[in-house]
Each structure stands twice: as structure tokens, then as C-alpha cells.
Amino acid sequence: MKRSIILAMAIVASLPLVASAHKAWLLPSQTVIAGETPWITVDAAVSNDLFYFNHVPLQIDTLAIIAPDGSRMAAQNGSTGKYRNVFDVELTQQGTYRIGTFNNSVTATWEVNGERKRWRGDASKLASALPTGAQKLEVGQNISRVETFVTNGTPNETALKPSGLGLEMIPVTHPNDLFAGEESTMRFQIDGKPAAGLKVEIVSGGTRYRNAQDEIAVTTDANGEIKVTWPNAGMYWLDATTEDSQVSIPQASKRRLGYVATLEVLPQ
């Protein structure tokens, strides 16, 4: 099954992971669930509208499903459509699952005989992709995540542990314990250190049925924390992007960092 996802992904590999101005997201069928081994299904897509499939599927070749005990699980029943990827997850353990894609790639532009070339891929393949005589080489590193959280039974924290690489969210309020009218705290970090002054945008789903984005714009404090009081119940899309020069690839000068989470807020 996993292979079928990878194969399917090869088809859309030529599409940008996150087209500029488009929103990438994972949409779980349910975030709070109970049972011995219940199933959820997840849509993965990139679109302007939340949460509608009308642009391209989200690449999920780097999908990681972290189980409540911290182990990695495979997605099942993967399928790629015109507008979305779909996969299922069997929640065989009690606790909180983190489902997310992780992109660590480089983009490079160069000129050969006055002709401009653009390349995107894994950092290890850059050297072989680069032709001899390439000029005006510019390399940028991209690290981004698109995540969501699902809890079967009692929530736990194991799967929420950050890796310490790139931009990450550490949910202070448990991500499956969000309720309308209540305040939640989230902490952001870059390479394990608090991301102060980071702009975070939050947009609720159902954008097709209203006339404004009604985004919540917040900036992290010195501890990298934001506090959000959820105006309504629903699925929310949280997005933060920033740039720095903490590159790990010799030719690169800039590093672009992105973080996206889909969060479900329940009514009181």
C-alpha cells in the first residue's frame, strides 16, 4: 500500500509542494475518536479555499504518521486523484497521533550559456544535477511541515515531541483539546529555540461560504508563544513562514521555513 502511494506521488512530483499563495493541508475525517482500532481517513490537498479540493493534491511522499508510542506507522489505502491524495490510518493504539509531511529540499537556479534553469530536489542530488559551466548559481534551502493531530481515547504527548530541525509547533494546549471560546497556547521553535516575533496566520474552514478570509493574525512573544481564543467551532488552518540564513547546505544562502497545521475546534 505504501508503495502505491509513493508510485502515485511520482505522478504529481513535478507539481510544486506548496504553490505560492496556495494553502497546503491535511484534513482528517475526525480528530477525537474512541474505539479498539478505529479508522480515520485523511485528505491531502493544496488549494486556495479551505478546505476544498480544487487545485492539486498535496505531495505525501514524505508522510510520517507518528503513533502514540512514538513509533512510525504506514498509511493505508492510498489513492491519488486529480485534486487530492487520500489515505487511511488505523488507530491501533490509544493516544495521540501526529500525521504530517516533512519537506527538506533545495531550490537552485543557474545559467548555462545565458539560459536560466530552475531545479528543485533533494540536497544530495544537487551536485549531480548541476551541469559543468553553470553560472549565477543561487541555492535556497526549504524546510516545511504540514501536520494534523488525531487522538484515540486518552490524549498523550509522545508523538508531539519536536525534532529540533526547522520550524516546529509545540502544542502547549493539547491539539485535540481545543474548544470554541477558550484560549489555547502554542509555542513555535526554530531548530529547537523559541521563534520570537514569528507571524502566524489562522483561517477557519468554510471560506467558500463567507466573503472574507477572517484570518486571525498573531505574532509570537519572546518565548515563541501565541495565545488564540477560538471564535467558533470548526476546522482551522494554521500557517507560519519565515526565512533565515541557518542553512545546512554549503551552496545555499537562504533558508525558507514553513509550518502548517490543521486543527479542529469543538463546540462547547
Partner: protein, 171 residues
């Protein structure tokens, strides 16, 4: 999984041997809908910190049907699930029981044993949450002091999934 005898007794039946001094009356309204399912109902006590202090009753379907096991819909009792259900292993003797039909349901609890006996003195809120498959959800609250020095009654009217819900404490 058996309903505790004290819970099953209705007001029409003989009084139990001990004094029934904590009584919750819950009216489940009859609804004229095409597809009716009995609601899941949770009754619990919250402390001043709004955390669950005692579970008094949870009525749900503890069996399999073609859509899965009845526990699948326990999270739909959203507040109860958050405050207690998700850390509780059901069924719980004396607390959980099958769903009840429309009508007046009585929950008569002994305060000398069981959950209420463990309550520290203080201000509490009785919370009643009901949710119905292909229907709605409603949550009602009745505040009370514990232990009560004098008889105390509280009443609240539901508007959709619950009718009149009342609490009567007789010390």
C-alpha cells in the same frame, strides 16, 4: 454490565432501604422525527475548577451494530468525553448503563457510598449532557453546595434533547 439497582428504580417502585437523598430527574422528551435513536446521556459533577469530580451516570449503547461498537459515539458527549470519558474505561459498574427511552428518568443516588461519598465539601455543578444520533446535543447545569445542610432543589429546562431536569438533595 448491569444497571445499578438504585438507578433502575423508578419513583413508582418501593423506596430502597437507605434514604435516597440525592435525586436527579431527567426528562427525555419524545420527539416526532423520522429516525429516532435514544440519546446518549452523561450525568456528572464538576468542581469549581470545572473539572469532573464524580461520574454519576452514563447511558450509552454497549454493543455492536453494523456501524461499529456503541462506544464509537461516546466522544459525541463532547464535554463529558473531554472531562472524564476519554480517561475512563467503560463500562463502569454502577455508573454506565444502557440508553433510556423518552420519558421521565430518575437517578437516585446514595450519598453514603459511591461517587458522592468521595466529594469534598464545596461548590459543585451537576452537569447533564445528552446527544442523539442524527439529532442534536444539549448540556444543562445545576449548581449546588456539598454537603447540603438543608434540603436543596434546582431545576433547569432543556430546549431540544432534554426536557425538565431537576436536582433534589435531602440531607
Amino acid at each position: 454490565m448491569r444497571v445499578q439497582l438504585t438507578i433502575a428504580l423508578s419513583g413508582l417502585l418501593a423506596m430502597p432501604a437507605y434514604s435516597a437523598d440525592f435525586e436527579v430527574n431527567i426528562e427525555i422528551p419524545p420527539l416526532k422525527v423520522a429516525e429516532y435513536h435514544r440519546p446518549y446521556v452523561a450525568v456528572w459533577v464538576e468542581g469549581a475548577d470545572q473539572k469532573a469530580a464524580a461520574n454519576l451516570a452514563v447511558w450509552y449503547s454497549n454493543k455492536d451494530n453494523k456501524e461499529g461498537h456503541g462506544t464509537k459515539w461516546l466522544p459525541d458527549l463532547r464535554q463529558w468525553w473531554r472531562k472524564s470519558g476519554r480517561t475512563l474505561k467503560v463500562p463502569v459498574d454502577g455508573i454506565t448503563g444502557p440508553t433510556r427511552p423518552a420519558g421521565k428518568q430518575v437517578l437516585r443516588l446514595d450519598t453514603h457510598t459511591g461517587q458522592l461519598a468521595k466529594l469534598a465539601p464545596g461548590r459543585y455543578t451537576l452537569v447533564i449532557e445528552a446527544v442523539r444520533e442524527v439529532g442534536g446535543r444539549e448540556l444543562l447545569k445545576i449548581p449546588f453546595n456539598w454537603p447540603a445542610n438543608a434540603p436543596h432543589t434546582g431545576k433547569v429546562e432543556g430546549s431540544s434533547e432534554l426536557g425538565t431536569v431537576s436536582l433534589s438533595i435531602n440531607p
